[in-house]
């Protein structure tokens, strides 16, 4: 089917990392959803929405990859930056939850923060070891 072929070609617009994780799954979901469409008009509408969705999705993912890569050139590596971001986000969530007297969320976020902080520590440790070698 032409649309399925075009879909697979357009998927190549995604960053390689995204394709590796989600590519096969996306094709599977697309094919099953395509099989559900009844009638020409419905199918055309579906095809346009899917193909346009892939183009937009790929553009968004490329922007995201580029943004994530910027700190890698001038600051910490991307995985380290992402781990730092997760810790910061959880700290902000905890503060916000406390401010709104939502102590259960605060406790949960705080617990998650400890886990994320440990992951960050391991990452930092790894980079330090790598540097010293």
């Amino acid at each position: 089917m032409i649309v399925a072929r075009v879909y697979r070609v357009l998927l190549r617009l995604y960053p390689a990392e995204h394709r590796q994780v989600f590519g096969t799954e996306m094709i599977g979901v697309f094919e099953r959803a395509a099989a559900d469409q009844r009638g020409l008009v419905t199918y055309v509408r579906f095809a346009v929405s899917e193909l346009w969705g892939v183009i937009r999705g790929a553009a968004a993912e490329r922007m995201h990859t580029r943004r994530a890569a910027v700190p890698a050139a001038s600051g910490p590596p991307a995985d380290l930056a992402a781990a730092e971001q997760r810790v910061t986000a959880l700290v902000n969530r905890t503060i916000h939850a406390i401010a709104h007297h939502d102590f259960e969320t605060a406790r949960l976020c705080s617990r998650e923060e400890i886990v994320e902080r440990e992951k960050l520590r391991v990452l930092q440790e790894g980079y330090r070891t790598g540097d010293s070698q």
Partner: protein, 117 residues
């Protein structure tokens, strides 16, 4: 966080985007794989939202990255191995969002009743 709309009171008080909210609601009762998510979201929104795979997997990637959902391999299915489920943080945040929406609808209903009188 990226999957929230712009607001004035800091990143953590802003409402969730509709796509994210629908995904979280869909995963609230049980884990789902991509196709099941797509169908459930269509049903949840009374057919109003048909999420394309591009939109769905973009949102899933962001939610995974933020630790609101997690991905795991389902053992009992041959076709759709990868499934998604809410994390404890994701569930709690969804509950907070539902509470926020309830408060807003209550306030809206009260004001509408006042304006009818």
């Amino acid at each position: 966080m990226r999957h929230v709309a712009k607001g004035h009171d800091g990143p953590d008080t802003r409402p969730l985007s509709e796509a994210v909210l629908l995904i979280l609601v869909s995963l609230a009762d049980e884990p789902r794989h991509g196709y099941a998510l797509m169908k459930d979201i269509e049903m949840l929104s009374n057919g109003r939202v048909r999420m394309s795979t591009g939109t769905l997997y973009g949102a899933l990637r962001r939610l995974l990255e933020d630790g609101w959902i997690e991905r795991f391999e389902q053992e009992d299915t041959s076709r759709d191995k990868q499934a998604y489920r809410l994390t404890a943080v994701g569930r709690r945040l969804l509950e907070s969002e539902v509470e926020r929406m309830k408060q807003l609808t209550r306030a809206a209903s009260a004001r509408l009743r006042t304006s009818e009188v």
